[in-house]
Symmetry: C2
Subunit: 80 residues, 2 copies
């Protein structure tokens, strides 16, 4: 399946070094292969979500970082 | 000044309902006006950062949400 992924700072922790994610329907413990921009990571489902239409997976911050999607959350602003 | 903004899930909490952010040099307590994509919010500096070259401000998640930049962190993926 393909769709939108976001990441969330309050993800449940996995084992040390384990990448985790939230999925609406896959059983807990399932390892998903998530690909973005030519990179693929494996992450273990340990939470439910995302609950926003069109999003198919929520990655923990370490998983999002491993996938290289963190910089997508960076935008240009002006500060006064 | 203009530059890149990111947001961070572990921002220090402000008073209830107060938007907060991290800046490298502005004094703690300073209220910044941050503009993105035609929207402007005010957020109070209560932390130091960001420490990545080219980024000028780190917003707490509520501040990033108010500014409308959360969806910028959403990317298209495939899941197997």
């Amino acid at each position: 399946e393909s769709g939108l992924a976001s990441y969330y700072g309050y993800a449940k922790a996995g084992k040390v070094g384990e990448l985790t994610c939230a999925h609406r329907t896959r059983p807990f413990g399932t390892v998903l292969r998530v690909s973005y921009s030519g990179r693929t990571i494996q992450c273990r489902v340990n939470d439910r979500g995302p609950f926003i239409r069109g999003r198919i997976v929520d990655l923990s911050v370490p998983a999002a970082r491993a996938l290289g999607m963190m910089s997508a959350g960076v935008v240009r602003v002006s500060v006064d």
